[in-house]
């Protein structure tokens, strides 16, 4: 009896909370009109809207809530295909991280876009893209929630200078799978990345923005200095 009471209580709370919460969240993303202007930077490759087709990049209708690399008929990079298989879903959080720095988020993506660095610009762009996906204010259970959770790293973490000797020791753990010679069959190469890209990628795993259970586990227990040490070591690896 006590169990049933508790279930009912939880359910009632969820129902009561849902509509208000989602409407609030949807309003939070950004300025969609301004986002439409920013989309000018993307429209050379991507189409969006009722007539949209795949072009140099895939069409972006319905991107929210979709598994990565899932538009039929588009030839994705190996790396985005892999991310999709590993379970990457495009949510506000993951799209934000991708648009901020595509190559850091999915090394090997064919999207030759350097990234939209300004947080407000990204929010506005995503608010515009969001209009072409199922909207939470219309469909309460639709992905995504518009929860703001940016994968940003404070400057002091990015500025950490890693100890290459520590990095050399820690790297032993990476090199059981990732080959020092840069071979990438089955498992991607991690040698000679720019340090900042390496640090951002590892923190993206640590925050579970990038999918993959092994990497989430490995990055999850690395401290900030340890990630910096690895970045310093792999950036200079010449083997």
């Amino acid at each position: 009896m006590a169990g049933r009471g508790a279930t009912c209580l939880a359910l009632c709370l969820a129902l009561a909370g849902a509509p208000g919460t989602t409407a609030l969240r949807a309003a939070e993303i950004g300025d969609a009109e301004r986002g439409a202007e920013i989309f000018g930077e993307c429209s050379g490759c991507h189409e969006i809207g009722p007539e949209a087709e795949n072009a140099i990049g895939p069409k972006l209708n319905g991107v929210f809530g979709r598994r990565a690399a899932a538009v039929d008929g588009f030839a994705y990079s190996k790396s985005l295909t892999r991310a999709g298989r590993d379970g990457l879903i495009w949510t506000l959080k993951t799209l934000d991280a991708y648009v901020a720095n595509p190559r850091t988020f999915a090394s090997g993506t064919r999207m030759s876009y350097p990234g939209l660095k300004d947080e407000t610009d990204r929010a506005d762009l995503l608010a515009f893209l969001r209009d072409y996906s199922d909207r939470p204010r219309d469909i309460p259970e639709a992905e995504p929630t518009a929860r703001r959770s940016l994968p940003e790293l404070p400057p002091d973490i990015l500025a950490l200078k890693g100890d290459p000797a520590y990095g050399e020791y820690l790297a032993g753990e990476c090199q059981t799978c990732h080959r020092a010679d840069g071979g990438d069959a089955g498992i991607p190469s991690i040698t000679r990345w720019p340090e900042e890209d390496f640090v951002l990628a590892m923190h993206a795993y640590k925050q579970k923005l990038r999918p993959h259970p092994v990497m989430q586990m490995m990055a999850g227990r690395l401290a900030e200095e340890e990630i910096a040490a690895l970045a310093a070591y792999f950036a200079t690896l010449t083997e």
């Binding site: 892999r82 590993d86 059981t176 799978c177 020092a180 071979g183 092994v214 227990r221």
Partner: protein, 421 residues
């Protein structure tokens, strides 16, 4: 527990005091002798030699010229790899890192004198000794079986001619015949290994001899990745595999090799192939060195992989009793890097760092149906303790399973390059 930590730190400090000595007095370089050229020993030798850049002499004692990895040998049984692809030479360890190869068996260790005696009679002095001999089989584990019967009922649990023999036997099975495996009790090398092997034999038989049966006799109630294997067997090899656990006498088994009979809790079964994987203990040289305990394994300091009995003797991989890590090639490789870091710190004054360990075991169930399990670990004073883990899920889609298999191929290329250069 605090005592042990203090002992460890004390060892490090004492080593630091000795460090300067060779340079100051112009004595010979410090020397590390490594017994065993597998995932633990060869990795440790390579990392010490590579990272010390000639400051430490490293001698690798290993009788074989070519090492065949036990990991992935099941894929050879299933027809997914050829035998040669499992073989790796030691040449690069010598040419790239200056490691001295002693092609011989280690016959004895005198820890008081700090020497290893080889079967050929040569004696090697060491400053630090690494013992990584893998497993040997426990006497009397399966009544009726001992090593002299391995030509009839192969163990195939050390890769090499035994693996080839088992495959030839499976291929020669009569139509509708029975393949039997006696699975080992805990603890043993490669926890998912016997069950991946069942999968690979089933794969082979499904193609060549589809009416054949597989009988898995198992003394354990549960085993690694059980849900994943059972789901896969149901999907790919329905009706072929019968497992007899301890509730039906799987723990009361004896074999009669000459008659090709298996007696399970008094019931006699005639079989066509019998793969006996007996109970295990540390490779014999560990016992000869006097570092094993009465379980047959070697207790080690989780912070360093040094033997609890002797801080100058490091024991890696399957032979060690360290806590939560499975006995796997991945684990041995991981432990080797911690030991190499500690040994370099003790002998050449390089920086010491906290121990970190990890493991992932991939298994292949059928074509493009790969699964994995893994964990990361840290050292406590008591044991190597698991801090985080993951496992493949039942019901995963085919694309993910294929990606997992492809990832395992990448891992094999990665770890063998990491071990052998």
């Amino acid at each position: 527990m605090t005592m042990q930590r203090r002992q460890f730190l004390g060892t490090m400090a004492a080593a630091g005091a000795v460090l300067g000595a060779p340079a100051v007095f112009g004595q010979a370089k410090p020397r590390v002798v490594v017994i065993g050229g597998g995932a633990g020993g060869a990795t440790c030798a390579r990392y010490i030699a590579r990272d010390s850049e000639g400051a430490i002499d490293v001698i690798l004692v290993e009788p074989s010229e070519v090492y065949y990895t036990c990991f992935f040998s099941n894929l050879y049984l299933g027809g997914f790899r050829d035998f040669e692809s499992l073989g790796h030479r030691y040449d690069k360890l010598a040419s790239d890192h200056g490691i001295t190869l002693a092609r011989d068996m280690a016959a004895g260790v005198d820890r008081d004198a700090g020497t290893v005696t080889l079967a050929g009679g040569e004696m090697l002095f060491y400053d630090r000794l690494v013992i990584a001999p893998g497993i040997d089989f426990a006497d009397g584990s399966v009544p009726g079986w001992d090593l002299s019967k391995a030509e009839i009922m192969p163990h195939a649990y050390k890769a090499g001619p035994q693996t080839q023999l088992l495959k030839a036997q499976v291929e020669a099975m009569p139509e509708g015949g029975t393949f039997c495996m006696i699975a080992p009790p805990n603890p043993y090398r490669c926890p998912p290994g016997p069950y991946e092997r069942i999968s690979m034999v089933a794969h082979l038989l499904t193609q060549a001899n589809p009416s054949a049966k597989i009988l898995l006799v198992d003394p354990k109630e549960k085993y690694s990745k059980q849900g994943l294997f059972e789901e896969g067997w149901q999907r790919h090899y329905s009706g072929m595999i019968t497992r007899i656990g301890p509730d039906f006498g799987g723990d009361k088994v004896e074999v009669r090799p000459e008659a090709m009979e298996v007696v399970i809790d008094g019931e006699v079964e005639r079989v066509d192939v019998c793969n006996v994987i007996p109970g295990q203990r540390a490779g014999a040289i560990a016992e000869a060195a006097g570092v094993t305990d009465d379980t047959g394994w070697v207790p080690v300091n989780p912070h360093s992989m040094a033997s609890r009995a002797d801080p100058k003797v490091f024991v890696l991989g399957d032979a060690s009793a360290q806590g939560d890590m499975p006995k796997s090639g991945f684990a041995a490789n991981s432990q080797a890097k911690v030991a190499a870091m500690v040994i370099r710190a003790e002998l050449s004054g390089s920086k010491a760092f906290p121990a970190k360990y990890s493991n992932t075991c991939w298994s292949l169930i059928a074509t493009d149906d790969g699964v994995k399990v893994g964990a990361s670990y840290e050292a406590t004073d008591e044991k190597i303790a698991s801090v985080d883990s993951f496992i493949s899920q039942t019901g995963e889609d085919a694309a993910l399973r294929k990606a997992t298999y492809e990832e395992s191929l990448g891992w094999y290329a990665g770890i063998t390059a990491d071990i052998f250069g």
